[in-house]
């Protein structure tokens, strides 16, 4: 109930009843939105600047103050053999930098993957465990990227705040049990925004672009792992410039898949938001 209260109080401009768990239910929906112009986030927009359609029906929306909602960051990191040596040092340093850049109420968790997936650190405001787990990361074996992302999504709990899932891989999936389609089915229900960071090695794979696009995030391509710190910092900065639109669906059937469309009135901007949500029966 505490989470509900915090979130409800932070809604600016309108009183919108929200479900306790912030989950995608027909009676309260929130949509995490990035607005950009020429690749740069657009700030200072108000609720009245947005139009949101749920199944094509225009909805009355409210805007939440994102600065006051804690983040729940899930790091899903590649620990396959190709990262052995200095790349792993860069990865530890970049991930540590991201964790240390979080504010005290933010939570962080760590999932790593090589051929196996390891949930190394549960979501927590205590930075100690995750930082020591980062130090213990070891590069070996193959790349089960899809399995790792699946664990990260299954594991993300929106009750802790806005969920940001940051995925890093320097390659493509070679050993997962799960296929991309299984993960896409869950991404629609996960209430997490997924950002991917890939090096040249992972550029040609379509899994992360599709996943990030479906959740309203995006993929950042870096030339090499030594640029990872900047990429992670940029993901966090960008995530903090996003808007949260909240609304109670009206005039649309309750259960099942709801397609949503977000636009900004009168501006030539790009809008990244998840493409829809599942409303519970």
């Amino acid at each position: 109930m505490r989470a509900f209260c915090c979130f409800a109080l932070l809604i600016a401009g309108a009183a919108v009843p929200l479900a306790q768990t912030f989950r995608s239910r027909a009676d309260a929906v929130r949509v995490d939105v990035l607005v950009a112009q020429n690749g740069h986030p657009v700030r200072g927009l108000r609720a009245s600047d947005f139009e949101l359609r749920d199944e094509g029906v225009l909805q009355k929306i409210a805007l939440a103050d994102v600065d006051k909602i804690p983040l729940s960051v899930v790091l899903v990191l590649d620990s396959s053999a190709s990262l052995a040596g200095q790349p792993m040092e860069f990865l530890r340093s970049a991930a540590g930098g991201l964790v240390n850049a979080l504010t005290p109420p933010d939570r962080a968790a760590l999932v790593s993957f090589n051929h196996a997936v390891a949930i190394r650190s549960e979501p927590s405001t205590d930075r100690g465990p995750i930082l020591s787990e980062l130090e213990a990361l070891e590069a070996k074996s193959t790349t089960s990227l899809i399995d790792g992302v699946a664990a990260g999504l299954a594991f993300s709990d929106p009750r802790g705040g806005r969920v940001l899932t940051v995925v890093f891989s320097d390659g493509v999936d070679t050993s997962s049990w799960l296929g991309p389609a299984s993960v896409f089915k869950v991404a629609d229900r996960a209430d997490a925004v997924v950002y991917g960071v890939v090096t040249e090695g992972g550029r040609r794979d379509s899994f992360l672009p599709k996943l990030t696009s479906a959740t309203g995030g995006r993929v950042l391509e870096i030339p090499s792992v030594d640029k990872l710190s900047e990429a992670f910092a940029s993901v966090l900065d960008e995530f903090r410039t996003r808007y949260i639109l909240a609304y109670t669906p009206t005039g649309v059937p309750a259960p099942g898949w709801h397609k949503i469309q977000v636009t900004v009135k009168g501006r030539r901007v790009t809008v990244d938001a998840r493409r829809g949500y599942f409303a519970a029966q």
């Binding site: 997936v117 390891a118 999504l153 299954a154 869950v186 040609r204 519970a280």
Partner: protein
């Protein structure tokens, strides 16, 4: 011009012509003697090699370049002709003097008593070199000397280039040293009229090793040749299915895309094409042996991957028997969960994943599927217990925990016992 007709000039010209004629003669003699000497070294190596040992014989033959090995093959072919057909055998590729030398060697050679047995020993020598990777060891590479036999290479040992990769990343190109081709060619020299169980074992052991080593470039011609000799052998048919199923995997397809992106060409079809071929081979294996459990399970998987979920479900719902290994029961349950999900029966999918998880409690794959099902059905409260093994540290995870991690091995799981069985059988021939 007066000097041109002098006797001194004529003597010099005659000497020059004689010298020019003599150069190819000397060269031809050198070539002949090198070929015959090479045959002698090869015969000694076959005779002395102990199957399964990295002995001097294996090292000597491993040090030969593919081209040299291929150039030696006309002599080896002629040698087996003499063993099979008697001294009258003649090879047009060799000179009369060379054939005389080959006959002399053959009459006194150990292969004379049992040409088939000797061919099997020779094929096993080449198989050992390839299986142990002796031809790629740094010590052998350093020992190499090019141009042992100066003769056009025999077409039976063709050039085979391949792409190498680790974890789906293209690492570079390699070239086959021809030892598997050599073994197959030698066995063809003496092909018996009735199927020979030791030759079949040689092919099965070879295929299993290739699958275990990820040597798919050799496995393709190996299986094609094996099936031309043993067309109804269920194991070989099954191995062909395995090979194409692996070629359809993300690991291989990712590497293929890398090679193509770098401007290279790879003789590997796309995922759909390979899955389709795998399915065809598994069906043929089942036609040969309708109780072939693993062929049925793998056929179910490739059909499911190809979107034919209903047919896949009917194959995968057939339970394994008590005598089948737990590994097969696990694969069946895991793949059944996937296709039950695809046809929309989430309850049956969950039950199948739970069965897989019961068989291998530390396996991650069914647990990940169960976790995703829990999220989809809104039963997040079960996630904590479902994902519990994923919270263990890396050091606690063994590759044996989840049979999915070794699924690509397929017949490669049996590589060691098959190689041991082969070496034992061939070792007894030598005695």
């Amino acid at each position: 011009m007066s000097g041109a007709s002098s006797p001194m000039w004529r003597r010099h010209l005659a000497l020059l012509i004689l010298m020019l004629c003599a150069i190819p003669l000397v060269s031809l003699r050198a070539q002949e003697s090198a070929g015959i000497a090479g045959l002698g070294r090869w015969l000694r190596a076959v005779e002395r090699h102990v199957p399964g040992e990295v002995d001097e014989s294996a090292i000597v033959v491993a040090s030969w370049y593919r081209r040299d090995l291929a150039s030696l093959f006309p002599y080896i072919r002629a040698y087996f002709d003499v063993l099979r057909l008697g001294p009258a055998a003649a090879r047009k590729t060799l000179s009369t003097e060379e054939m005389v030398a080959v006959r002399t060697i053959a009459v006194a050679s150990p292969g004379q008593r049992n040409p088939l047995g000797f061919a099997k020993r020779a094929a096993t020598l080449h198989a050992d070199i390839a299986m142990f990777g002796i031809d790629r060891s740094p010590a052998v590479m350093a020992y190499r000397k090019r141009g042992m036999v100066r003769r056009p290479p025999d077409a039976s040992i063709p050039e085979r280039t391949y792409a190498t990769g680790v974890d789906g990343q293209y690492q570079g190109d390699g070239e086959s040293e021809g030892h598997w081709d050599a073994g197959r060619t030698i066995l063809d020299f003496v092909r018996p009229e009735t199927p020979d169980p030791q030759i079949l074992l040689w092919y099965r052991a070879g295929t299993a090793t290739m699958m275990a080593h990820g040597n798919y470039v050799e496995a393709l011609p190996h299986l094609r040749h094996a099936l031309s000799i043993f067309p109804a052998d269920a194991q070989l048919l099954f191995s062909s299915g395995c090979l194409y199923e692996v070629l359809a995997s993300r690991r291989i397809q990712s590497m293929v895309r890398r090679v193509q992106a770098a401007g290279g060409q790879v003789a590997v079809e796309n995922e759909e094409g390979n899955l389709d071929r795998a399915g065809q081979w598994y069906r043929r294996a089942l036609q040969s042996d309708r109780n072939f459990t693993e062929a049925r399970i793998r056929l179910g998987r490739v059909l499911g991957e190809g979107g034919k979920s209903k047919e896949a479900v009917s194959l995968l719902r057939v339970r394994t028997t008590e005598t089948d290994p737990a590994l097969l029961a696990y694969y069946r349950a895991l793949f059944l969960g996937d296709v039950e999900d695809a046809i929309g029966d989430l309850t049956a999918a969950e039950a199948a994943y739970r069965e897989a998880s019961r068989l291998f409690p530390r396996a991650q794959s069914p647990r990940l599927s169960l976790a995703l099902l829990a999220v989809r059905t809104g039963e997040r409260q079960t996630l904590s217990s479902v994902l519990a093994p994923l919270r263990e540290k890396d050091s606690g995870v063994s590759t044996a925990d989840d049979p999915w991690w070794s699924y690509g091995l397929c017949t490669g799981r049996d590589a060691e016992p098959l190689a041991k069985e082969l070496r034992q059988a061939i070792g007894e021939l030598a005695r």
